[in-house]
Symmetry: C2
Subunit: 388 residues, 2 copies
């Protein structure tokens, strides 16, 4: 299978840091403090599944100039030592009495001087990945510093992907596409949905995914109830519509697209719903280009669905950003006036309610180009595929 | 393969809620507010991989009496509707202007009355899984309520597992054991470590894991550099020591144990390190019983390692709680005076530094009984296994 080189050259991390520092200067921030997996990895390339353990906090301080500083548990020293960072401060964690609090406060005071503003992502789609009590202790230990919301900075940074990042999303999309190409061996009448989930994850790994953080789906007569439930052991039946939606990962970048299948035979109603969603996605793809807003995309897709007489599903939006997270800002929905820019990687995810409690969704991944956009996921079949 | 029934009877969730409410009464809390995946699932059984998306916040309010109340995005309504909860309040998320803030504040005011104390986990090993700005907005919208740290409550609840929960950990440990039984087909001289990771994840899925949130490991001549790095594509070489550490999941419960192997041949040094860790684990297993503290366990294991002349690794502890999270409180380390209780599920994870930059770790899973303890993971081989 074709493979692209893992990781990024140091220049990528340097450019990301300098972009951050330019935005920090506009907001007069002496430091940016981040602590979630994608934020720490964005600036460092620090890639590990160890974040699955909620026990230890991890901190990265981006100063106004120069390289970021890692303030992390000693268990991460070896791996962080392989990144481009040169200043790393570690403690033996867990240490409930002082789990990096003093070390972080000292680092911030050193970076910011006696006064200064520290940016921390505190807004939509962020979370504080450290104990709230400890965050207050850090603030108390550095009383001359002011902590301010820096959500706009991390949003601006991640919104546009570099060419190297886009290639990584393209690669995991190809891998996902190859796994879907094998659905005829994976799903069919009589197979339990739980077995389909299992075998599809195996196919993703075999085709080159590093791991499978996300797999969702559903199956039911002519449509499914929701798109986030775990699979039941009930066997698929003729007339069921099956959907799988995968967020597989390679080298730290996600795909997020889905495929629908009819089991045994497809009802006219299911075919119509599929065609409507396919046409809605086409409308989105035809419209997506720099300057068009997320709300424009939503309006265009919703118009196709409304024209076909469909109701909107309860998913809450019709697409979103994609990259180091399964879902990133912005959202393809009414009210999100974010204009598309070249290099943005997005999903289009129209959904409709076929009948009360029965929905269908469809999702593809794209990158915005200087003119128009290009698919990253292989386009789904134009007609609802039928599996035996 | 043997399988136990999925989920729990309603009585399990009712008992958990009543235990919480008894602890809340001691702290004079009118409500407990939780928002992370394992906390929400603990009270409801709400099991979905959708938490991989960081976009939407989810809230659960446990009142002083009666069932918990879910305040969640509409996309979760169908699945949450299948739990034992009867009061569910939803909004169409994402909604950056008011992402559940008003709905949550209204719910808390309703539950607490005009005054009242709301417990929120804010201490060690917790995080605030909502935007910090929104947490402040909730507090501002309910100014007569006081928000207090409730870490001790969630720690107390999760520390002791029910018999049904213990069976779930036992089952995923059996699954992990069967995957390790297949290591001779998975790893050996010349195989890249990345391929070993891939095939081991596949084996876990084939043996019955629902998904594999965590797989770590390492390989190197006579030991490995750390235990959290992603695998390289470098082929395994004779004399390498290979370690895999898996956090696989079935029905929402984790195993967390590892296995070491020598590739081609084992050096005397590697054999000695393995035997030391095996003996240290034995010392922990022999000691673990109600009343013994985590610090006692640590001391006993460290004594075996010190006697053999080994230095402690940088992992920071030698075991931890296990259950709905890969790692839970308490920690097996000096200073953690938590006494063991019947029903606690723990890992023992001694590690040692063989030489600078070269470590070995070993890990097993156990449940504390009324007298002594029982292994949940199948015990590793007494001597370092050699793979061709």
């Amino acid at each position: 299978m074709s493979e692209i080189e893992r990781g990024f050259p140091e220049s990528e991390y340097r450019a990301r840091t300098e972009r951050a520092q330019a935005l920090m200067a506009e907001q007069d921030l002496a430091a940016l403090l981040v602590m979630t997996e994608p934020e720490v990895r964005y600036f460092t390339g620090y890639l590990t599944r160890f974040w699955e353990s909620p026990t230890r906090p991890w901190f990265l301080v981006v100063p106004a100039a120069g390289k970021p500083i890692a303030v992390i548990p000693a268990i991460g020293a070896d791996l962080m030592g392989k990144t481009w960072l040169t200043d790393m401060r570690t403690w033996s964690a867990p240490a409930p009495q002082d789990d990096g609090v003093t070390l972080l406060a000292d680092c911030l005071r050193e970076v910011c001087g006696s006064e200064g503003r520290v940016g921390v992502p505190m807004g939509p789609e962020t979370c504080l990945r450290m104990p709230l009590v400890d965050f207050k202790r850090v603030q108390d230990a550095a009383p001359s510093l002011r902590f301010e919301d820096a959500t706009a900075i991390v949003q601006a940074l991640c919104r546009v992907k570099s060419p190297a990042e886009i290639e990584k999303v393209r690669e995991i999309c190809r891998i996902g596409g190859r796994a879907f190409d094998r659905m005829r061996e994976i799903a069919g009448t009589g197979r339990p949905l739980s077995a389909v989930f299992r075998d599809f994850q195996i196919a993703l790994l075999q085709e080159g995914a590093d791991w499978v953080p996300y797999l969702a789906g559903g199956a039911g007569p002519g449509g499914y109830g929701d798109v986030i439930s775990p699979p039941s052991d009930a066997p698929l039946r003729p007339g069921d519509v099956l959907m799988l939606d995968t967020g597989a990962l390679r080298d730290g970048y996600f795909c997020d697209f889905d495929r629908n299948y009819a089991i045994g035979q497809a009802s006219d109603e299911a075919k119509r719903a599929y065609e409507t969603l396919y046409a809605a996605t086409d409308a989105g793809l035809a419209l997506a280009r720099p300057g068009v807003t997320c709300a424009d995309l939503h309006r265009a897709m919703l118009a196709v669905i409304a024209k076909a007489g469909g109701g909107e599903s309860e998913v809450g939006r019709m697409g979103h950003g994609l990259g180091m997270r399964l879902t990133e800002w912005p959202s393809v929905m009414a009210g999100d006036e974010t204009p598309l820019e070249p290099g943005m990687v997005m999903t289009l995810e129209p959904g409709l309610e076929i009948a009360p409690g029965r929905i269908m969704v469809h999702e593809e991944n794209l990158v915005v180009l200087d003119e128009g956009c290009a698919l990253l996921s292989p386009r789904a079949a134009a007609e609802l595929p039928v599996l035996a």
